[in-house]
């Protein structure tokens, strides 16, 4: 069986092409950004043109869209959800508050930097980002996937200890099952 670089490249290309054009977004409105998701999905902006559609459960989803700030209580659920998703999975963080805390930088209950807790592939800034910005974020993610650079899920596997340490710093009562592939 020839398993040289070229055939692998072709397989990768086809895989990435399919992955790029079919992004199932998990229906999880984690923050106030969830209000711009319906306009993005519906008639005026119609994200389904790009193959973006909603998925009801984490098992079926490819993209975890973190819509806005994460309260620590939600962070626990988000981590759990992220770990339930099947590889390859991508994270799009939405809004200024995921980047540096935004408006809520001094709030005792919201995290400030999302990429310390789960790997983030694309950030969309703004409060709120407009639907155009969201779509442009998705297009950026598609480009990254095609180029093979959207590998947050690999990063998570490789640096699991580091992420876990950060997560456990906030989530005091850690009762979740361990992450196993």
């Amino acid at each position: 069986m020839a398993y040289d670089n070229n055939s692998q490249k072709i397989v990768d290309y086809i895989q990435n092409f399919a992955r790029k054009h079919s992004l199932f977004v998990l229906a999880y409105g984690t923050g106030c950004g969830a209000i711009e998701i319906p306009p993005t999905m519906t008639s005026r902006y119609d994200a389904e043109r790009f193959g973006i559609r909603g998925a009801a459960t984490p098992r079926q989803a490819d993209v975890l869209l973190i819509t806005g700030y994460l309260a620590t209580k939600t962070l626990k659920r988000v981590i759990r959800t992220y770990e339930q998703m099947q590889d390859p999975k991508y994270v799009i963080a939405f809004g200024s508050c995921t980047i540096n805390g935004g408006m809520y930088w001094d709030s005792y209950n919201t995290i400030n930097m999302l990429d310390k807790y789960i790997p983030v592939d694309v950030y969309i800034n703004g409060c709120m980002p407009r639907p155009e910005a969201v779509i442009s974020g998705f297009v950026k993610l598609q480009d990254e996937i095609q180029a093979g650079r959207a590998d947050g899920w690999k990063k998570y596997q490789d640096n699991l200890e580091e992420y876990r340490a950060n997560q456990k710093k906030i989530i005091k009562n850690w009762t979740m099952p361990d992450f196993n592939w």
């Binding site: 009801a56 209580k73 001094d106």
Partner: protein, 367 residues
Amino acid sequence: MREKSTTLYIGPQHPGITGNMMVKLQVEGDTVVKAETHVGYLHRGFEKLMERRNWLQSFTIVCRICVPEPDPNEENYARAVEEIEGREVPERAKYIRVMTLELARIASYLLWYGGQAGSAGLYTMPQWSVGDRNYILDLFEDLTGGRIYHMYIWPGGVRRDLPKGFKDKALKTMDYLEKRIDEYDKLLFENSIFQKRAKGVGIIDKNKAIEWGVVGAPLRGCGIKSDVRIDDPYEVYDKLDFEVPAMEGGDVWTRALIRRFEIRQSINIVRQTLEKMPGGEFYNKIPNPMKWKIPAGDAYVKTESARGEFAYYVVSDGTNKPRRVHVKGPAYVHGVTLLENLLVGENISDVSFIMNSLGTCPPEIER
């Protein structure tokens, strides 16, 4: 033989939930026997943050409390501050405020159309109504510069005047929407399956409704005429001509009918404000916000938002920062005690349906 009951979690990650909250259900067969609301997934500690920010900085925060309809928050906060300080608001600003509030109400109802129909599985309706909601957001963008968060109604008036040509554009949008709402009626209200789903589901007891703390459209759907716009008129609502509906029934269907009626009333009010709006100043200038001190005192103000009464309790201790800003959204009661009561005895299919008809919006509960 007693059926074994199962625990079913709806949320926080669930397509049927409104926002980010969780309802823990005890289910026997298809029937809910016990419901428990779990909130706190969206807690940002706004009220704590406002203790650290001065009066004007707090104003940029309040609108983020409720996403579908931020304007009642801004208006409430601004009015509370004005009431404590005794600041006058120009007449034109009041009209602009009312117009903004009503536009926000329309936008919120359009979102509700989508949510209510979507939770019943009619996916064409959200596509239409949320798509048309963009036209209202366009108006907001012209007016304030922001689609979702406007930060427009501030203490002393509004932030900027109407842009050129706004009136024509707004009137045109209203005409368009009125036409579209007739089409929504054909799709949603004349649909026999929707009627079958909605009638007799999630009934609120009329005699208990006020005591339970029900407000807004759900209360009017019990046949009790109650609206902050008439009961405790604010801004210029007493000079405008509009009707507040009340229908007997108390189920999802009546609440839907109430909203269907009210969205037309709101369109009407927007037209009236645009017609009657006087000229003149649109804001009463505030001093340097870093040094702007409000005399000690407190105020309790409320606004009728699309989901019900939105109340603010603001306390000042005479410094340049608020002592306490307590926000009570309608969902604080609707989403916790009322929902827990209503869901008992209902079918699992109707959980999300009832939540949408009550307009449960978790950010109001935990802020």
